[in-house]
Amino acid sequence: MKMFVCIKYVPDTSEAEVKVNPDGVSVDSSRFSFDINDADNYAVEESVLIKEASEGDVTVLSIGPKQSDVMIRMAMAKGCDRAVRIEDERIAVYDPLMVAKVLAGAIKGQEFDLVLTGCMANDDWHMSTGVALAEELGVNHASMVKKVEVLDGKKVKAYRELEGGLMEVVEVELPAVLTIQTGINEPRYAPIRGIREAQKKELKLASLDDLGLDAATVNADASMVVLEQLYIPEVISSAEFIEGEPDEKAAKLASILVKGGLV
């Protein structure tokens, strides 16, 4: 099974303060910590699991800065075989359709059975890149996949996670793109030996020119949407904020809950 896995280097903003830069279209990321996107981490694990079960081969693809090499090496430490990091500031990265075109450019002309991506990026939430990539490559796809069974090497059975916890089971002929949902497996920690071996694996840096892509097809002019403005929405809360030291807050809350007959 010859595979590609596409991963993204994203900021963890779950507990970070987000501020918009004076340009109005970017955020101050200087204090964010970056790592592999959640769903992509599961996609890496799934690719390695399939590789181990079928003597496969996995190439990592990522569009991102030099700093993301650490993340890419980690994916190789877990079992991926080689990687291509695409860096080119001309790519309109805010438009998943442009991103998909670049990834397709990095894959086209090579044989593959499966391309795995995360189903959603934590930073921009589009859930669009993988499905757009399938169309660019002219292959089948299934999105939000929470379980994969490889059938006879020509087909996969993909369990799509729908709303309410229902699963939709589909059979998809290979080659195909699957966008992987979090929770599909238990991502491993990279073994020490793997970390050493990853240093020797190939990590190629590619620009759009290296991929044979015309920048005019994936830049801001090519994108049919414009990121016009970013702003911080007002968090409207009608909550009663309980103040004090942690112990006092706890005591006050306990009293509110008991007196209000809530517990």
Binding site: P11, L162, E168, A239, A250
Partner: protein, 324 residues
């Protein structure tokens, strides 16, 4: 100008909420654009559902064929591809759901049309369609402007707006199916129901829910103690169930359960919209989170900005004391 074509989503014979919710958004946009809303149903035996959509006072187009009995992204893409050519709609809108996200990006690539996904509000002004969406854990909003195109594609977030009442009368028109034979390369096999656990959290009176802030499963006893003290059941966000701390059947949110307890205590949960969609039916919400910007506070009645590990042990102790 072409119409605003809204794909009414349904599954297992029932219209999905987002189909109704889009009826709050599409008519306003139609007014701004000087056009009309038309709903589209793709399925098998759609008469009842078509009537329900027509009750929004709109025309409903129906592609009714046994080939569409179950959702299939490739078939939906084919139908919409043909209808875009035939009807030249100004906008095609679907839910940002497991259906919409499974074919709209491919449709956009195929038809070389612009797409904005996960839209929470829309405006058409000065000849430009603008769609607002969220980024960075819901802490920033982005306004995306569409460049002029024959058809704008967008997926609208489920639960972003309230559905309006439907009491008008519209019309239903059946269309010839653009698809004459089944596709072989992607096949629907079956639905598999969610696993059933020992506790049905949709029936719980009190829920204590944990998220990413729990950090590791060895911190669970802290939560179990609190739950025991107030006879609550334990639930979790997606992060907590993905990590294996909480069983999957106790996940609250879009892809898990929708709960409506009398009291919901959210600890270490930032409150992504997918989570809030599953717990906004709770009568009273307490949120404990160390991030003052956490979206969970927007739906809380009582809020504590602090480290849950500093607050929860004392809270449990005090509750035990007060309850005797």
């Amino acid at each position: 100008m072409g119409n605003i074509l809204v794909l009414a989503e349904h599954r297992q014979g029932v219209l999905r909420d987002v189909s109704y919710e889009m009826m709050a958004v599409a008519p306003k946009l139609a007014e701004q654009m000087g056009t009309e809303v038309v709903a589209l149903l793709i399925g098998s035996e759609m008469d009842e559902l078509a009537k329900k959509m027509a009750a929004f006072g709109i025309k409903v187009l129906v592609v009714d064929d046994p080939l569409f009995k179950d959702f299939n992204a490739d078939k939906y893409q084919k139908v919409l591809s043909v209808l875009i050519d035939d009807l030249k709609p100004a906008v095609v809108m679907t839910g940002h759901t497991s259906q919409g996200v499974d074919f709209m990006p491919a449709l956009a690539v195929e038809k070389k049309l612009p797409l904005v996904a996960d839209v929470i509000s829309l405006e058409f002004a000065g000849g430009t369609l603008k769609a607002t969406r969220q980024l960075y854990s819901g802490k920033a909003n982005a306004v995306m402007a569409f460049k002029p195109a024959d058809t704008y594609l967008l997926t609208f977030r489920e639960g972003a707006v309230e559905a309006p009442d439907a009491s008008a009368s519209g019309s239903v028109e059946k269309l010839d199916s653009p698809l004459k034979e089944d596709l072989s390369y992607r096949k629907f096999v079956e639905y598999v129901e969610a696993e059933v656990g020992d506790v049905d959290i949709t029936q719980s009176d009190i829920l204590v829910a944990v998220g990413r802030g729990l950090k590791e499963d060895k911190n669970l006893p802290l939560i179990e103690e609190l739950a025991k003290a107030i006879k609550a059941d334990i639930a979790g966000s997606r992060a907590a169930t993905d990590a294996g701390w909480i069983p999957h059947d106790r996940q609250v949110g879009t892809s898990g359960k929708s709960v409506k307890p009398k009291l919901y205590i959210a600890m270490g949960i930032s409150g992504a919209f997918q989570h809030i969609a599953g717990m906004k039916g709770a009568k009273t919400v307490v949120a404990i989170n160390k991030d003052p910007e956490a979206p969970i506070f927007s739906v809380a009645d009582y809020a504590i900005v602090d480290d849950m590990f500093k607050v929860v042990p004392k809270l449990t102790e005090k509750l035990k004391e007060l309850k005797g």
